[in-house]
Amino acid sequence: MSALTVHDLTKAFGATRVLTGVSLHVPQGGFTALLGPSGCGKTTLLRLIAGFDDPDSGTVLLGDRVVAGAGRGVPARRRGIGFVPQEGGLFPHLTVAENVTFGLPRRRRRDRARVAGLLDLVGLDAGLADRAPHQLSGGQQQRVALARALAPEPSLVLLDEPFSSLDAALREETRAAVAAALSAAGATAVLVTHDQAEALSMADQVAVLRGGRLVQLTDPRTLYRLPGDLDVATFVGEAVVLDAEVRDGRAHCALGVLPLGRDCPDGRARVLLRPEQLRLSAPEPTAPSARVRGIDFYGHDSRVWLDLPGGLAVSARLEGADLPAEGDDVSIAVLGTALPFPSGPRPARQDDRPPPRPVADVHLESPVAAPAGPAAG
């Protein structure tokens, strides 16, 4: 297993720039998720790392070996990188055992114990070894694909949206099995996904890609609590975004005066709250009030849609069965801190990225400040 270092990678297809100056480091044994909406370039990045395509500029290092860039390109077959594609991509003319041992030297392909060991690693019964791929469920196919990728003991494993074609129940189970197998193998892994829940729950580092650029690279908790900008904030989870005036280190907004999660200069700003930070109670004259417009009941928790007096709408995520009724007047309390994003003139940026899409305007036109939700596909 080795670390992966990507430095200043750029790739264009014809006139379309797909990746611009992406730099990334995945430590040895680490699990990094590449998170981004469709078309953000994450699959292209994966293919460049795997060696299926060549970058226009920039370098890819495995450990301290340059495999792409700086005038050299190690072909995919000499990189020792395992690849698990979206639909598994099992060779249809081979059995499970033949698929799993495909990348092994000829004399080791007949080793049944090795096959059994690899299937066991991904949580599959050795009895499946002689099945044809089409006789397996989607989740089983993905696990066999992972076993096949892990068999030659690659220095790095790449997973290209491996769970997106599975239905919800199977997805959870397969994710758990894959995570367990990867950690048992001590593999360095990179997972491409557009599902923020998958990225946050599986990876120990998340790289957010947008428009072919790396926007943020950090651990899942930091990403959720301290997103780099409001776009990232709304992409990685539901958000309540409010206009605010920052004075003396506190935000004055429609939900009252809130402490800040980080320093912010005085002046106009937008603040980020997560719906689970909102707590509702019987109306109190001193607290900010709202009227319940509707409730989405999910069982384990609920989303409560609230109309604020100023015409704003926010949502709160509440656990338990103690829910208000539609039309009730409630008071809102905020737990924890609000994360400020100064609006108005920005400090000079280091890159030439255009400013993020102004969520503020959208939010003023239609008075719904939340939830941007788990962005799908």
Binding site: G51, P75, R77, I81, G82, F83, F91, F102, G103, P152
Partner: protein, 500 residues
């Protein structure tokens, strides 16, 4: 490299068409006027036109009616009927003609020709329409019935519009086949363009008359092909819902069961029973005068060898085009693929005529050799191979190459361990289709086979032309037996194998 090979294949496929076009330009407008604007051509047009229209109409009625009975009604024995209705395809049209005219010498009229070719060709409509019926979502019919439509109105307003594409496609196929049909019509002494070209060719070898007739015929084919292309663009109506459609509950026929059974039986007797009876009859009659087993065996051997060589060569030629059409989809590759389709829409008689003439002029050492015959087979049957090769390449997407590479395979290893095993079944199917087509090919073989080389079709032809019906029968029987497997293939997957 692959592109260059595909371009060569396309060039070969377009050679006959190019020859006709070039010849027309050489002859010039006055020559064309003199050769084409004749009473003879008008007569041929009339003969061909009314035969094509009549046959298409008859096939449409027979095909749709039979398909509805078998797919949607509760007529007893539906599976058996389905096989019996496809089975006439195992009898080459010229064998069917022979069967009829040897029993009833009076069928050499327009009505007779119409009857015989309709019986030979109606499966071309039956198959796609039956497949379309199978694809219809019964929920639509139930919805229509729920909206208050009668049974007949459901057929006319819901089913028929959905069958339109299949019906038109089948009809065009009938028309194209009929324009190219030579053996059956010659046997029935019904004069059309193909028979006229053949007679001209026999009389004057390669006179401008034959070539100009070929030009008119090719023009007719191109018009139909253009219609086919336009139709392909709008092929099929997709089901909007997801998941499998529910099985259909067949329509009860009640009192009409008897007439329906009688109708199907009459159709099968005429289309299948008559030729089989006739063949049996002439086999027995011929046996009394002695069957030349040695000749039959040699001829069968020659035919099988030719067919195998053609299958191998044609599949190999289809490989670059089929590969590029999937892996490097683009304007150029689409153009190359279409060129082969265009080339093979030219009737066999024209392909043969063009190749004979070109060979005599440019490469006399190729004239009357097996390679030239194989080239003609390739031009005629390339699309069958390309369609299946294409399907096979689609089964082997680039992803597998990438995966094999990431697992350490070199290019050669990839080819051996992944690509070829995945392509093999498709290549085999393509080769089988070409093989079976060559076994019963008559027209091109008649013109191009080296002297002394007889195939089943040409041996059958010379015997039956000499009115030695008994001597011809064994060759026909072997052809029918060899064609039977193709019929099984066709009854399984109507649309793919039918579209040339």
């Amino acid at each position: 490299m692959t592109l260059a090979l595909a371009a060569c294949v396309a060039a070969l496929a377009l050679l006959p068409l190019g020859y006709i076009a070039g010849y027309t330009v050489d002859v010039g407008w006055s020559g064309v006027r003199e050769l084409v604007l004749r009473d003879r051509v008008a007569e041929l047009l009339w003969n061909t036109g009314r035969l094509v229209l009549g046959t298409v109409a008859a096939c449409a009625v027979l095909g749709v009616g039979a398909a509805w009975l078998v797919q949607r009604s509760a007529v007893p024995g539906r599976r058996v009927w389905h096989v019996l209705l496809v089975a006439p395809l195992a009898v080459p049209a010229f064998v069917n003609s022979y069967a009829w005219i040897s029993l009833l010498p009076g069928v050499d009229t327009y009505a007779g020709a119409l009857l015989v070719v309709s019986l030979s060709y109606f499966p071309f409509v039956y198959l796609p329409v039956a497949a379309a019926f199978r694809g219809l979502d019964p929920a639509l019919e139930e919805t229509a019935a729920g909206l208050g439509l009668s049974g007949w109105a459901v057929f006319a307003r819901v089913q028929l519009p959905q069958l339109r594409v299949a019906l038109l496609g089948g009809s065009l196929l009938v028309a194209l086949h009929l324009l190219a049909e030579f053996g059956a019509l010659q046997m029935l002494r019904y004069a059309t363009f193909t028979t006229a070209i053949y007679d001209q060719y026999r009389a004057t070898f390669n006179g401008p008359g034959a070539t100009m007739l070929a030009g008119v015929l090719v023009l007719l084919c191109l018009v139909l092909l253009l219609a086919e292309l336009r139709l392909r663009g709008q092929r099929g109506y997709a089901r909007t819902g997801r998941g499998a459609a529910r099985p259909v509950r067949p329509v009860e026929l009640r009192r009409l069961t008897g007439p329906a059974l009688a109708g199907l039986a009459a159709l099968v007797v005429l289309a299948l029973g008559v030729p089989l009876y006739s063949l049996a009859h002439w086999m027995l009659a011929g046996a009394s005068t002695g069957l030349d087993g040695g000749a039959l065996l040699t001829t069968t051997g020659t035919t099988l060898a030719l067919a195998a060589a053609a299958a191998l060569a044609t599949t190999a030629m289809a490989l670059p085009t089929g590969w590029l059409a999937v892996r490097a989809r683009g304007r150029v590759t689409t153009l190359l693929e279409r060129s082969t389709y265009l080339g093979s829409s030219v009737p066999a008689i024209v392909v043969a005529l063009a190749l004979v003439t070109i060979a005599i002029r440019a490469t006399p050492w190729l004239y009357q050799t097996v390679p030239l015959l194989l080239a003609a087979y390739a031009v005629l049957f390339l699309p069958r191979a390309i369609v299946t090769v294409r399907g096979a390449v689609e089964q082997s997407p680039r992803l597998y190459d990438d995966l094999a590479a990431s697992l350490g395979c070199s290019t050669v290893e990839r080819l051996r361990r992944v690509t070829l095993p995945l392509l093999a079944p498709g290549l085999g199917a393509g080769a089988a289709l070409v093989f079976l087509a060559v076994v019963t090919e008559l027209t091109a073989t008649l013109l191009l086979a080296p002297t002394g080389t007889t195939t089943l079709a040409t041996a059958f032809w010379s015997a039956s032309s000499a009115l030695e019906y008994g001597a011809a029968a064994p060759y026909a029987v072997v052809m029918v037996v060899l064609s039977a497997p193709a019929t099984v293939l066709l009854s399984r997957d109507a649309r793919r194998s039918l579209t040339p």
